[in-house]
């Protein structure tokens, strides 16, 4: 509504009479504000913010229990209590443990590894929609947020792993060289989770309702992933269609859980793993990590808007 101006805009008018703004902008090297950077530039920006990503994750983690009297003890106590509840229900009440040797380590490993994926997905769903204030106040590559939330979950898992090692030793599982396999298994799972969180972050930013739906999807996913029962034992002797078998075995959550059990529990043998398990694990991680990142980046300029 330039005609509503009382004074005919004194500072702007005299020097550049009616020059096309785009031309003027180009002449002085101005760029469109809030445009999406190219993919390599985006990766570069993200790398520059790596310290923010880690600092934000650690800050979130430590602020979580800062009001509690026991403080950071809850980092370890919460997963332990979780495992205790599952043991009571599935081990004692329902007696799933009968077929599985070392059932407690088996169960606790499953619960911890599954929780890592579950909470990463949940945190990812809310990463943008729950941090709108931050997104609207500061300029940074938005992928920092979902990645940072996943990193927080990874840190949480590392606390749980400490508890897990204690449980393993208590239940007489001897330490072995195969424990080193935890590192590649966790790296792959972290990549997979982050990719998934990035996808969910974009969807959750557009449709916040997804955060209401996710708990149900995740619970369903948990029950088919063999967190409390052994897929291998359950399937043996049953005549299921081949496709169901393949789907159950290709389930990324089941693969990462089984890899961790294979690494940690000596009574969990390689024969219980699905075929080509490391290939599957790497494939899922790459597919989810790369695909999720690109999918998230495609909508970079739209986050926190409207």
């Amino acid at each position: 509504m330039s005609q509503a101006l009382d004074t005919p805009s004194p500072p702007a008018a005299p020097s550049a009479p009616a020059e096309d703004p785009a031309v003027l902008a180009a002449r002085y090297g101005l760029t469109v504000s809030g445009a999406r950077p190219t993919l390599p530039a985006y990766v570069g920006q993200l790398w520059q913010r790596r310290h923010f990503i880690t600092a934000f994750a650690t800050a979130k983690l430590t602020s979580q229990y800062s009001q509690a009297k026991l403080g950071q003890v809850w980092q370890v106590a919460t997963p332990l209590l979780n495992a205790a509840v599952y043991y009571f229900i599935f081990g004692v009440l329902m007696g799933t443990k009968r077929n599985v040797p070392d059932y407690v380590p088996f169960l606790v490993t499953g619960v911890f590894v599954w929780t890592f994926t579950q909470s990463s997905v949940m945190a990812g769903t809310r990463a943008i929609s729950g941090s709108l204030g931050l997104v609207r106040a500061l300029h940074f590559p938005r992928a920092s947020l979902p990645i940072s939330y996943c990193l927080q979950q990874l840190q949480q898992l590392l606390f749980s792993m400490c508890a897990l090692f204690v449980i393993l030793l208590c239940f007489g599982v001897p330490p072995a060289l195969s424990w080193v396999l935890v590192i590649p298994a966790l790296t792959l799972q972290f990549t997979f989770n982050t990719g998934l969180a990035l996808v969910m972050a974009r969807m959750g930013a557009k449709t916040p309702d997804i955060a209401q739906l996710m708990p149900f999807l995740l619970r369903t996913w948990m029950y088919v992933s063999g967190v409390m029962w052994s897929i291998d034992k359950m399937l043996s002797g049953k005549d299921l269609p081949h496709i169901v078998l393949v789907l159950l075995q290709a389930n990324p959550a089941a693969i990462y859980i089984d890899l961790m059990r294979f690494a940690l529990i000596d009574s969990f043998h390689a024969s219980q793993l699905p075929p080509h398990v490391w290939l599957w694990a790497t494939g899922w991680a790459l597919l989810s990590g790369v695909g999720g990142f690109i999918y998230f980046w495609k909508a970079e300029e739209t986050y926190g808007r409207g």
Partner: protein, 285 residues
């Protein structure tokens, strides 16, 4: 300050730093009005054409900024004034690239930064950790944060009454927290700096310090935008003022002229009845 800018204008070619070209900004708000409660309305929103559904199912659009155009030059300090809800902060966020434009484009030199880190800080963390977190969130490197840490804490004056910087931020008084936030936000140098009513924080002595710091920032920055309801601080810091009313750019000109018209508009019965006859201004839209 005003002299500086003027001499710069006369001697050197005026270099634009922000060009706002015919910009509209529209907010979409989910679930307002009568539509929200009923399930059919929600269904309508999910099914069916988007625009129609939006209209029916309580997605309301708020046209916050309408067809605003202006060009800001290096060395200018520009005040944005207008009554509450006139679109000042929205325009500022769009210049910062944080809100999308519905129509039109905004060109900027480098990345304009909004002065504010409130959202990045966490109340459960100590002031010390928040200084680090806020600095990193603004894009400073770890070394930069470490270098400026003492300046930031010193400027905020948090430690004047004891060792408060190592306490969680939730234990701070609101004034102390506001001072720390401003100190963190003002620690970085910017090409184009956008300030949203930040001057009103803290006690008188801190306000004085903030104003000095803003003047300093303006010297280093190419261009400063300041949103404020305090006409005095606009007069002290700005040499050009944009007046927004109901999302429209009502007036754009030297500080004194625009402020005079604005004061006549907001307070029409204040004695000296419109020194210049400005009929358009005094008629509310």
């Amino acid at each position: 300050m005003a002299e500086n800018a003027e001499t710069a204008e006369i001697t050197a070619e005026r270099i634009p730093t922000v060009i706002v070209d015919d910009v509209d900004i529209v907010y979409r708000v989910n679930g307002t009005g009568a539509g929200r409660g009923t399930a059919t309305a929600a269904l309508n929103r999910i099914l069916g054409g988007r625009r129609k559904a939006e209209a029916r199912a309580g997605v309301r659009t708020v046209h916050a900024v309408r067809k605003v155009s202006f060009t800001a030059y290096k060395g200018e300090a520009i005040g944005l004034i207008g009554t509450n809800g006139s679109g000042k902060s929205t325009l500022l966020k769009a210049v910062a690239g944080l809100l999308p434009t519905e129509n039109g484009r905004i060109f900027t030199h480098g990345q304009p930064s909004l002065l504010g880190v409130n959202a990045a800080l966490m109340n459960d963390l100590t002031g010390e950790r928040n200084v680090h977190l806020g600095g990193l969130a603004m894009g400073m490197s770890r070394e930069e944060v470490r270098e400026r840490y003492d300046d930031i804490v010193g400027f905020s004056g948090i430690n004047e009454k004891g060792d408060f910087i190592t306490l969680p931020m939730r234990t701070y008084s609101s004034g102390m927290a506001a001072r720390l936030r401003f100190s963190i936000a003002a620690a970085k140098d910017h090409d184009v700096l956008l300030i949203d009513e930040a001057l009103a924080t803290g006690d008188r002595s801190f306000q004085k310090r903030s104003e000095d710091r803003i003047r300093e920032l303006r010297k280093e920055a190419g261009t400063v935008f300041l949103v404020s309801h305090n006409n005095k601080s606009i007069r002290d810091t700005c040499d050009r003022v944009l007046w927004l009313e109901r999302g429209e750019l009502r007036m754009d000109g030297p500080t004194d002229e625009v402020l005079e018209a604005y004061e006549a508009f907001t307070n029409p019965k204040a004695g000296k009845a419109e020194p210049k006859k400005q009929t358009k201004v005094s008629v509310p839209a």
